[in-house]
Symmetry: D2
Subunit: 274 residues, 4 copies
């Protein structure tokens, strides 16, 4: 979507900026990621417009704005509303850049937005979707869905030459076929979302615990007390501590059960009282 | 193994030159493949030495010779003997280039050479091995084995940034663990080789059929008559026709059974008489 | 200096980050620039150390820290002292990254630091220098000076393949020979610096004018009143307005004469009174 | 003109294939050069068509044919006629690939073809021209002329990011302005061509000397006797020996004078008799 001399705008915390070891730069031949700030892990259309407007057309000293990438659901566990996506798409159209959606947790987003996948993507102006499956039940399968003909044209060559056309590809394709059949992907997404909601409700009721972000998908960032963190670890629970001030990252999976959540909550409650 | 300004020497028919859509150029950042001729799909050490000697050191108008890649077993279904590998490695050492072995069919080669994997690789001077498994029984798993510390140093970064560090990687690793346990990989390779020998013997006995290459692994390139080709297809067999003069490509798999081979031979025999 | 999966640390305002259209990404094959904040256009050794320390060794989700680039004199018209360069070099050594100095205005820096070029570079720990000449009197000539053998080894190949080994290169080399002969480059740098000092002194004496940065080389960023800016333009002077709050960018050249400076000052003074 | 997964077809002896240290691979991000054979340094339209026809559309195992590059005048000192260029352009159109002309010696070609530059390029179907000047009198200046809007669109960004937008670019542009004014470039080209014709005529009359190629521009490849080669060197003449069988490469410059040619011929004649 971006030429090698292009700029790709994304949120500062976007996985493509922070956690891919320069993969976007590699596949584009050296494009530059242009990180933007924004509350709750989201880019605001207004901020994007201002950033793009600040680059004079044809000014070759800067990289040429080429693409925008938004993550749905975001790395912060929040969602772009359809209106927010459309507003960003409108800025992209006006400024002549392409819009990509990183959908590693697309199932969780669609399940919660309660819309069709089409409404969530091309009908809102998204031109390319990374359609994640591995985080939501597949073994190791992901797909790229392209809604613009010109992006699709040479895609098979790009896949081949980067070593992503696998021998026995059918074993991966079969996973995707099962994943989308009978809405399995949405059922998995809903289950994870429901467990996140159950966890959020349970945590909020514990003294000393607060949620640092809206819980809209399957990720939570609660702030726990040192005693709770220590106690949960002693009870065998594992999680990342983010930021060093008691904030931890909890992710509910497609196969997380109510009993799993409840056991975690019981442990947290017990150590909160200690 | 090669910088972006390097030259990678390989056989004209090498898979990396012919069938990867420029993947080596992509991963190296633009290195240039330098194809060499050679009988039976193999590079001769003498020819390699002459090609490398023809490039004056420090002559910047040419790419800098950086690496040599040999395929074991070759695309022609033949094998490099250990002495041949060592002779090529000796040229590489003398000329200051690295030696890579494309081992998509490494199991078939080791099974036939009747040596240890160590003897077939680093003890013969190979510095990096592409260790194939998918063609020999795995679902979709391949490994890279590096015998030189400097090549290994940043390899994990390269894997990540090219999208080859998969989520749930354990599902791929498990395949490799099973593949090498109790010599499963060698048993699979031996089975495919044995079926190729059975097929070669059977075909050689049919009037009008000849073998165009030594059969040393699990691939055959027999020349068949038009009647046999037509008849086999009518009986439901499928294969690539290579070169347009009756030469077809037959590959025996790890799970090919004697009965499979015999059915093919019976069909060929029947149509040879017609 | 950086592999394609490397991170290059530099100041947010560095020319390589802001004004080269992704050239560093291009030449490295996709390395990622990691911008740092810092007062007066300079990176502080302490901040650099903290940034590098925050990347766990071997963590492949991030790019691997590979190089640091400092600009001497900086884009802000300031200088790193030799002690500051040494402190940064010490961090680089400790953290295993290389140190590059962007010396587009190296002559102005050395002239002001009043040291030898060796003291300003390799003796302070710099491993590669972009030695600018075009901004200081040459027609179109720049040089790269490498102080580390391994960086120099394949450099000629890199130059050739990027189209920077020119036919009739001697016409460029002759410029560099004249540039360094009899310290012409330093005399040119001193002249520009002296004019900047004259300009700074003159501006500081005008009511309503302030300097926003220390003037240590040949660039000034004074804040002028709207009336002065308007008047200077009317009198035929041209300059970039940076930041929209009356701050303009003035650069003194190797051939700027005292009379040129005085004419500018006289105009500014006249319009300040109006 | 070619994506990173594209194939660029050119003559085996083309400068871009043989003498640029992988620059085309670098600037394209890893495209693959596909060398073709052909008499007198030229690609035949028929051979090109056959090569392109051999690549099944959409077959991702090969690079995708993307561009053709022809050198005018060729590295062999010969010319494509306008009809030959048109025939190649027709194949390109039919097969959906772009046509580039490497015109390092474009002046010599146009001078000899006795046509307008437009007839030699876009009117014959050429979409991009490397317009050489350095070999024909300029100091160090070359230009790229693009005849297709889509190729031109982002060209300024590509130039900048590869370090070819020079500071003080006007000093290069001034050369090009003078070069094309009053047909200076064509007069220079005609002079060099005339000297090549004079040299060819003189050499052909010497016993034991033969021309190995048609002399159509300003390069000759005569086969000399060992005595003549030895004698010329003794008399102070320098040249490349190509192929080791008495063939040498002689290039006439824009400022070569008849007396220069005659001195060379006299020396050759003298040593031929010895």
């Amino acid at each position: 979507m971006a030429p090698a001399w292009g700029g790709i705008y994304c949120h500062q915390a976007a996985h493509i900026n922070d956690s891919e070891c320069g993969a976007p730069e590699f596949f584009s031949g050296g494009a530059k990621l242009m990180p933007l700030q924004g509350a709750n892990g989201k880019i605001a259309a207004r901020d994007l417009d201002a950033a793009l407007a600040a680059v004079p057309p044809g000014r070759v000293h800067h990289v040429k704005p080429a693409a925008v990438s938004i993550t749905q659901a975001t790395e912060a566990g929040t969602l772009y509303t359809l209106a927010e996506v459309k507003a960003i798409a409108e800025v992209c159209r006006k400024r002549g850049v392409r819009l990509h959606m990183d959908g590693a947790r697309f199932a969780n987003a669609v399940a919660r937005l309660n819309c069709s996948p089409a409404e969530a993507t091309w009908q809102a102006g998204v031109e390319a979707l990374s359609f994640g499956a591995t985080k939501n039940g597949a073994l190791t399968a992901e797909a790229v869905v392209l809604f613009a003909d010109d992006l699709a044209r040479d895609f098979a060559f790009r896949r081949k030459r980067s070593g992503h056309l696998f021998s026995k590809m059918r074993l991966l394709s079969a996973q995707m076929a099962a994943y989308v059949k009978d809405d399995l992907w949405l059922r998995n997404g809903r289950q994870a979302n429901a467990m996140a909601a159950r966890m959020a409700e349970g945590l909020a009721a514990i003294e000393g615990v607060s949620l640092t972000q809206p819980v809209e998908a399957n990720i939570l960032f609660p702030r726990l007390t040192p005693a709770i963190i220590k106690g949960l670890k002693k009870d065998g629970f594992g999680f990342y501590e983010r930021g060093g001030q008691g904030v931890v990252r909890l992710v509910m999976a497609y196969d997380t059960r109510p009993a799993d959540v409840d056991a975690f909550l019981a442990s947290a409650r017990r150590h909160a009282k200690g």
